[in-house]
């Protein structure tokens, strides 16, 4: 059993598919931006939170200087030419132990995050999967053995009931040699333990609509935003 030391939130990307002109993590759902909600989800579980920034970083700096002064912003100057695994490597560079990695464009309930963290302390690497619902899913194939679920593959083409949730728990140096998609890095280590988590990834306007509706429907009775 190994507790989780830190969280790295990747918020450097352009978010070009949503085209809203601000970092996706600053999009609001029910009056609270995604970043605030993610920070609320993780801050009870970790000692440090690193948010990797790039595209329009000044907006996230301004926001965190007012609302989240406890986080550390990590600047990814090469955000236009690098992918999320590079941001994860940068964000976890001087951390140690086990790290919770999350994309900054996710919406989930605090209870879902807590369940994932609980499951993650028992294995070196835990991959988050969620029921397929986003506009641009990365499908996961899984096997179930001895009461546990393991991810055996990722694919854009082979549709399945679950997609990659863009949440994982792994050592701080897990992405140190990576530069591509996060799931490509994970592919080299398969099979890996999986944990199903109810969340919404927001890549498109349609994702945002579904996330808002789903969030209200599924989580409003569990928590107050």
């Amino acid at each position: 059993m190994q507790t989780i030391k830190g969280a790295v939130i990747a918020a450097a990307g352009l978010g070009s598919r949503l085209g809203c002109g601000v970092p996706k993590c600053l999009i609001e759902v029910e009056g609270v931006c995604l970043l605030s909600h993610l920070i609320r989800c993780v801050e009870r579980h970790v000692e440090v939170i690193h948010v990797v920034v790039g595209y329009r970083e000044e907006l996230i700096q301004e926001y965190c200087s007012t609302h989240h002064r406890n986080v550390v912003l990590v600047r990814n100057a090469l955000y236009r030419s690098t992918m999320t695994s590079s941001s994860y490597a940068l964000g976890a560079k001087h951390l140690d132990g086990k790290i919770l990695y999350l994309d900054g464009d996710l919406l989930m309930a605090e209870t879902e995050c807590s369940k994932f963290v609980e499951a993650a302390v028992n294995v070196p690497v835990l991959v988050g999967i969620t029921g397929t619902k986003s506009d641009n899913p990365v499908y996961v194939s899984t096997v179930h053995t001895g009461g546990t679920t393991k991810v055996t593959g990722f694919s854009y083409d082979h549709a399945s009931s679950h997609e990659w949730a863009n949440v994982l728990c792994a050592p701080a140096d897990f992405f140190s040699e990576s530069s591509g998609h996060v799931f490509h890095t994970l592919s080299a280590h398969l099979p890996l333990p999986a944990h199903e988590i109810v969340l919404y990834e927001i890549d498109t306007d349609n994702d945002l609509k579904n996330a808002s509706a789903g969030f209200l429907r599924q989580f409003s009775d569990q928590e107050t935003l």
Partner: protein, 200 residues
């Protein structure tokens, strides 16, 4: 690998800017605040600003300045961090040794600063620190192979640019855009800063 930790003084170690405090002694706080803001934003160079400030504040006796500086609140976590590894900690400030020397001595850190002397009751500015030279000195003369620098203003840029790890600190006020541009990390509270520093 030997690591040196370099800290700006005003608004980083101190929880407020020092020179406005001295200015308030003369009843010219708002005028000095304007000058400080223009300097932080890089509108006028640090050298020009320091010469002006010395001209204005130079009439205040050194012992009065020391009393004012001693009463300024400090960022306790940063002071504690420095105290735990004082031999590898350096205060790198454009401020004047004759004003802030006693404060830095109390921190037990080594000082790189601008230099002045009092002559017949008037302050004479002898040299203005280019913070890049402090970093060079730590590498070449002191043998440090890794420099970590923390600052917030336009005059911190040469220090941040030449450091191996550069941190913009916004604990007291928003870091200048120039300082942000040179930084690897941005922090807004001293607790988060010190956790980061301990992990580096």
């Amino acid at each position: 690998m030997r690591t040196a930790f370099c800290f700006d003084l005003d608004g980083t170690i101190t929880a407020t800017e020092l020179l406005p405090c001295i200015a308030s002694h003369l009843g010219i706080s708002s005028e000095m605040a304007t000058l400080t803001r223009a300097t932080m934003e890089g509108t006028i160079s640090f050298e020009e600003s320091l010469r002006l400030r010395c001209l204005i504040l130079g009439m205040v006796p050194a012992e009065v300045v020391h009393g004012i500086v001693a009463s300024v609140p400090l960022n306790g976590d940063i002071v504690q961090f420095i105290g735990a590894r004082a031999s590898d900690c350096f205060v790198v400030t454009g401020n004047l040794d004759v004003w802030i020397g006693p404060l830095v001595n109390s921190l037990r850190a080594t000082l790189y600063s601008s230099e002045g002397t009092f002559s017949e009751g008037r302050l004479v500015l002898n040299s203005i620190l280019d913070k890049a030279t402090a970093i060079d000195d730590l590498r070449t003369r002191c043998g440090y192979s890794r420099i970590i620098a923390v600052g917030d203003g336009a005059n911190d840029v040469p220090m941040l640019r030449n450091a191996d790890v550069a941190i913009a600190f916004g604990g007291v006020h928003k870091p200048s855009n120039a300082a942000l541009e040179e930084s690897d990390y941005v922090t807004y509270c001293q607790q988060a800063l010190c956790k980061l520093l301990k992990g580096l």
